[in-house]
Subunit: 338 residues, 2 copies
DNA sequence: AAAGACTTCGAGAACGTTCTCGCTGATATA
DNA sequence: TATATCAGCGAGAACGTTCTCGAAGTCTTT
């Protein structure tokens, strides 16, 4: 249990020099003799010295921890984003510590009021789908803790934001459907109130309008993000007076749910009803027919978010900035009429 | 950039009491008057005081951080394990900080020699598939940092280990194939040298032996864990002199790779060749035909690992212990001959 | 009334670093 | 020779807590 650590003092004692000099040597400041420096480094190695981050953090007033607050990690998009975050954080010597909200606004609140959060150098957050109030973020920002939002961003908060190009991705998706000859296009969307959901909706509507296609209210359904909701939404669409001949889903999971539901009803995906998703989850290639989708730059979003945050943390002055990364249409079988 | 924090001293000054008393009040020790305690708590709330973990950590010699070292997080099993870990860690006030090895022994070494690791209160690790040398773990253990291994454990290390019941899971899987009438059963395994791979192999061999079925060398293939390897292995099996009529894959991803390859060759899964996987990845339900598999208790493994580690960290004396959690056969279409 | 026990609190050291200031001795400048 | 410059280093404070020790006051016991 009790472990004893080698400190800078031990090195100083063994070398008969002051702790100040050892500290200088470790940090390679200008005012230390290179010879003594080598001596110190050698001795440090020999004693297996590891710096104590609590001590450095205490004087420098930083923890080298950045908090990542997100709804879940058990899906392709989020786990990939985290991988990107971790990659750049690790390189710069920062730890990332995870906070999972389970997509619950209540839990999100709890987490943001958490003690430990105050000890983060900065925060990367993707808001939960049912959080409407944003006061808790305001509070954190007021406390002076840098925040970068990614993917699902809070509307009204003045903070840096990184998203994929949801509008154009959606536009391109719908245009692809239209080019394939589908005309009666439905959209199964996410919960209302989330910016990226709205942007995809706008892209959908714009593409329909530009191609002079009618949009029926009953072809637009708002619900949750999971596969189950995709199934339900698809079944609901089948009930509508005029049945759509294509579905644009807000994400791949819902698209896959819809496919599963339609397959059960013996509807031939592509031929009878075309389907397109969003994300490019590996599942797209596994399901049959394979799912056409819009690829999101998840890894890059993770990397860039973290880079932004580290800039915010280390720069004296930082501008709030927004970044939109491009998406890419990936055509597969689910939108093939042939 | 510069943020000013409310400290215990501020509270003491405003209340005209000593820092020691404030500290006592915050920790609710026995030797503090309940009235003054309430006063302190009220003032703390009022000033929005947040304890500084660097300071407490420095005197208590702990960081309340536990490191999680694992190959990747972008798959179902690992992301679920992490969710379990995070769940209990959060409850106990510990942060989890992620280290991703990308399944490379070299990177694993780098990470374990990392400075920041020395500042973890404990480690949860799942070794990378190509790591043979375990000296770096010995070193950490010698440093007195508690370690718990999960899933992929290092053979020879004396440390606590948590795994699913790979042997019986495999046995049950193969027995299920046999009961379905398959006789020529192949096993596409993981890389040799990993304990759980070997255990699944043993389960496979035992079931075959108990049912007096022959095992051909060419029906056993060792390779990587990814879908690509599953495809390759399946194609290789098709080349063998006597073609197997069923495949037991070491995990779902390989099983799915194999299915995809066989489907491309117009082989009817189930009828001509039965396939069973391991993990119960959500993809099993998505692919067609759906994939029979052995469910792993991923969430529970995450939870238990973390509980073990926290015990190790907080108990004065701890016994190294090993825990094996049960698996569960989940029958779907890929092993239906009818 | 004296002694003991208990409650409540303060002073100050300690944790392992970094940082500021100033000192020493050597070298360069006048 | 006297003075300025500079390289290299040490002493000690500071960061925000906890912890140990002891003191003051109150209450109980005899």
């Amino acid at each position: 249990m009790k472990r004893h650590f080698v400190t800078i003092k031990d090195i100083a004692r063994e070398l008969n020099i002051s702790v100040a000099t050892v500290s200088r040597a470790m940090r390679d400041t200008y005012d230390v003799n290179q010879e003594t420096r080598q001596l110190v480094l050698k001795k440090a190695q020999e004693l297996n010295y590891k710096p104590n981050f609590n001590a450095t953090g205490l004087v420098k007033n930083s923890s080298h921890n950045i908090g990542v607050v997100l709804p879940t990690i058990t899906n392709y998009y989020f786990s990939t984003v985290i991988t990107g975050i971790q990659e750049v954080a690790y390189k710069k010597g920062y730890n990332i510590v995870l906070y999972i909200t389970n997509d619950s606004a209540e839990r999100e609140m709890d987490i943001l009021n958490e003690l430990s959060l105050g000890n983060m150098d900065g925060l990367l957050v993707c808001v939960s789908s049912d959080s409407r109030q944003n006061d808790h973020f305001e509070q954190i920002i007021a406390d002076g803790i840098p925040i970068v939002f990614f993917d699902r961003v809070a509307h009204d908060i003045k903070a840096s934001k990184i998203m994929q190009d949801d509008y154009h991705g959606a536009y391109q998706a719908v245009e692809h459907l239209i080019q394939q000859g589908y005309k009666k296009i439905a959209h199964i969307a996410g919960p209302a109130g989330l910016l990226f959901t709205e942007r995809r909706m706008e892209g959908f509507l714009a593409a329909m309008k530009d191609h002079r296609l009618p949009v029926k209210k009953e072809w637009i359904i708002h619900s949750g993000f999971s596969r189950d909701f995709g199934e339900k939404d698809a079944l609901q669409l089948l009930q509508s007076r005029t049945r759509p001949d294509a579905i644009f889903a807000v994400n791949d999971r819902k698209a896959i749910g819809a496919m599963l539901a339609l397959k059960k009803k013996n509807i031939r995906i592509g031929k009878q009803i075309g389907i397109i998703g969003f994300t490019n989850d590996p599942m797209c290639e596994i399901i049959s027919p394979s799912l056409t989708t819009v690829e999101e730059p998840a890894l890059e979003i993770g990397r860039k978010s973290c880079e932004f945050l580290l800039n915010h943390i280390n720069k004296k002055h930082f501008q709030v900035q927004e970044l939109t990364l491009p998406t890419k249409l990936i055509v597969r079988e689910s939108t093939m009429r042939g």
